[in-house]
């Protein structure tokens, strides 16, 4: 294990060098966060399909429990139970539109992970940086439990637990626990915990800051101890259910419609119904859940005792418990929506629950149709200050300060951007498949073959994987 220990130290040092300007030391946060002995325990695996490129290279890396699909080069890195999902990478010949530019993609895009340590992180989508179209790099970066690196090349950065960086290139940044950033580009910034920041310069700037004291009950993270709070407890309580799907090689298939895709590494508990064109990704957890036509449950989603009427997006890491969702309800990244058996949560059709929203109620609560919802909501009064009819939000032209929300710019532009994104997600996931046209992940990700790879079991190299190149 000597080599793995040296690799860990090397990654911490390189990240610290990048973060010196912010005076941020990663070491106390990550030391013992995952004991290195864990890296020997779990196999890594990769998917093979005729629909995705296969080009995987692993050198001097530890990959325990991680999953790879598509094209990825991993060097001098530790990936622990991390999903590298390359089903949305750009292909050679694609044309990338950026501002007034139409930029041809000269070769298949690939993930390029170097000198990084990713813990239970999802890496997905494609690089939105016009300067690095074919290389989605993650370099000198450390991410912790249930972080999302989504379409966001990263250099010299640290992501706290449940942090999401979405469609944003970041350099030398700290993204705090449960923070969401979608701003295109950031550098040398320390974004505090519980920050939800969505910005398109010249169009809109949305900033919500969770009240930290209340947020800490749900998720908090400090040096020297693992993440804590209701959300991590909720996930940990269901960890055992995933052991079976990872340990058993030949699981009995669960029947789903031919147009739907249920990943064999998802957990499906009794009384679950999966409709047509539904996508259920790996590490999703469904229990007494009904997913109507075109709905999806992405990685690290939990849907429990809930009904989704159809064409619902449940983005990476979102949790929906004891809830009724109308058609076309969008639930953003890492949101935590929890009703109770005797006081359920209802969200009306066409509503948008912004990323990293927490709704946790002890009285029945109804979000009316076509509403925008954000922040931390436990009461009707919270809902009133943290939501607005989409038609009213669209009328904002200038600024709004409401509760912990600061918004500047055009509300209509903000809503339009979300609507466009939601439509794109549904389209990419195959929600609109008509039996012949409009195929998406739900149709293309069926019948994936999975192969396992394993690390050195002991000795100086214990936990590291030998150099492996996997190509067609």
């Amino acid at each position: 294990m000597k080599e793995l220990k040296a690799l860990f130290d090397r990654i911490a040092q390189r990240t610290n060098i990048n973060l010196r300007e912010l005076n941020f030391d990663v070491t106390p946060f990550i030391k013992n966060l995952v004991p290195l002995q864990q890296m020997v325990k779990f196999y890594a695996f990769y998917g093979i399909t005729p629909n995705h490129p296969l080009d995987l290279q692993f050198r001097h890396s530890s990959l325990a429990g991680s999953y790879f699909l598509g094209k990825c080069r991993t060097v001098n890195s530790i990936l622990y139970k991390t999903d590298i999902r390359g089903d949305e990478l750009k292909h050679r010949g694609d044309v990338f539109s950026y501002q007034q530019f139409e930029i041809p993609v000269s070769k298949d895009e690939g993930f390029d992970i170097e000198d990084s340590y990713l813990i239970k992180t999802l890496v997905h989508n494609y690089s939105h940086d016009p300067e690095t179209l074919e290389r989605f790099f993650i370099k000198d970066t450390i991410s912790t439990h249930y972080a999302n690196i989504h379409g966001s090349p990263s250099d010299g950065s640290f992501l706290g637990p449940f942090a999401t960086v979405d469609l944003t290139t970041m350099q030398d940044c700290v993204i705090g626990t449960f923070s969401y950033v979608q701003t295109g580009e950031i550098a040398h910034l320390n974004v505090g915990p519980g920050t939800v920041w969505i910005r398109k310069p010249g169009e809109f700037n949305f900033l919500y800051r969770h009240p930290l004291q209340r947020l800490n009950d749900y998720i908090n993270f400090s040096a020297g101890r693992p993440p804590q709070g209701f959300i991590i407890d909720f996930v940990e309580d269901r960890k055992g259910a995933f052991q079976r799907v990872f340990e058993v090689v030949n699981l009995e298939p669960i029947p789903v419609p031919r147009s739907a895709s249920l990943d064999r590494y998802a957990v499906v508990k009794p009384k679950t119904q999966i409709g047509e064109n539904v996508l259920v990704a790996q590490r999703a957890y469904l229990q007494n859940a009904s997913l109507g036509k075109g709905a999806n449950a992405q990685e690290n989603c939990y849907i429990v005792n809930s009904r989704l009427a159809g064409f619902n997006v449940t983005a990476h890491g979102a949790k929906i418990i004891e809830a009724e969702l109308g058609q076309h309800v969008f639930v953003g990244f890492n949101s935590f929506l929890r009703g109770r058996p005797d006081c359920r949560l209802t969200i009306g059709k066409d509503s948008i629950v912004l990323p990293h929203t927490i709704i946790d109620i002890k009285q029945p609560l109804t979000v009316p149709p076509e509403h925008l919802v954000w922040g931390l909501i436990t009461t009707q009064a919270d809902l009133e200050s943290n939501s607005m009819a989409i038609s009213d939000f669209s009328k904002i032209d200038g600024g709004l300060e409401q509760g912990n929300l600061s918004f500047e710019g055009r509300g209509g532009s903000f809503v339009a951007a979300f609507r466009k994104r939601i439509h794109h997600i549904l389209e990419a996931n195959g929600a609109f498949f008509d039996g012949a046209a409009n195929k998406g992940h739900a149709q293309r990700n069926q019948n994936i073959s999975f192969n396992m790879i394993q690390p050195y079991p002991n000795g100086d190299l214990a936990g590291l994987y030998p150099t492996i190149v996997i190509q067609p």
Binding site: N205, L207, E408
Partner: protein, 188 residues
């Protein structure tokens, strides 16, 4: 032409408004008023109060802006507003947020009550590098220090490490003006 030294231009410490550490803002303002009344109005227009420790040593200065800042509602200056710049919000938006919060905040009479409770040492400016000038220094050196340094409004005048007075920009300007008039007479 007259040769000026700093000690001839400064306001001596004994004539300057001073309060001991531990005084309230209100006491500082009263000391300022008293100094203004006791000394020649035309010569001295006091704009600050010096804070003295128990050994009568100057430990800080409280200007008019410091008093206004102290009385401002703190929510106008909280990190969440200050940080909006970091998140790309425009100055216009931030100014508007401040205005909105001010309108919702406490009226002026409530703010003034605070003056009796706030302590001067929490808002004073401690002397810093470049703020001192020797009493024997020339007018030219004083001008240089005011113009090029970080302390444009006044300097603390020292004699053997002890602060003995305050040299204000207005005193320096008065001397320069006087010197300029002398030049004009000579040219004619």
């Amino acid at each position: 032409m007259t040769y000026y030294r700093v000690k001839e231009l400064m306001v001596p410490l004994a004539e300057y408004a001073t309060v001991p550490a531990g005084s309230s803002l209100l006491e500082a303002m009263l000391a300022l008023e008293k100094a203004q009344a006791e000394f020649d109005h035309a010569k001295y227009r006091h704009r600050g109060v010096l804070i003295l420790d128990k050994n009568k040593k100057v430990i800080g200065k409280l200007g008019q802006l410091d008093v206004l800042r102290a009385l401002e509602p703190k929510e106008d200056y909280t990190d969440d507003i200050r940080n909006l710049h970091q998140f790309g919000f425009t100055s216009k938006y931030i100014q508007n947020v401040r205005k909105q919060r001010r309108l919702k905040g406490a009226p002026l009479k409530d703010l003034c009550r605070k003056a009796a409770t706030l302590k001067v040492e929490d808002f004073m400016q401690a002397p810093s590098e470049g703020e001192f000038i020797d009493e024997e220094a020339s007018l030219e050196l004083a001008i240089l220090q005011l113009v090029m340094g970080d302390h444009h409004l006044s300097l603390l005048v020292t004699r053997d490490q002890a602060i003995v007075g305050v040299l204000r920009m207005t005193d320096v300007f008065g001397a320069v003006f006087h010197a300029a008039k002398e030049c004009e007479i000579t040219i004619q």
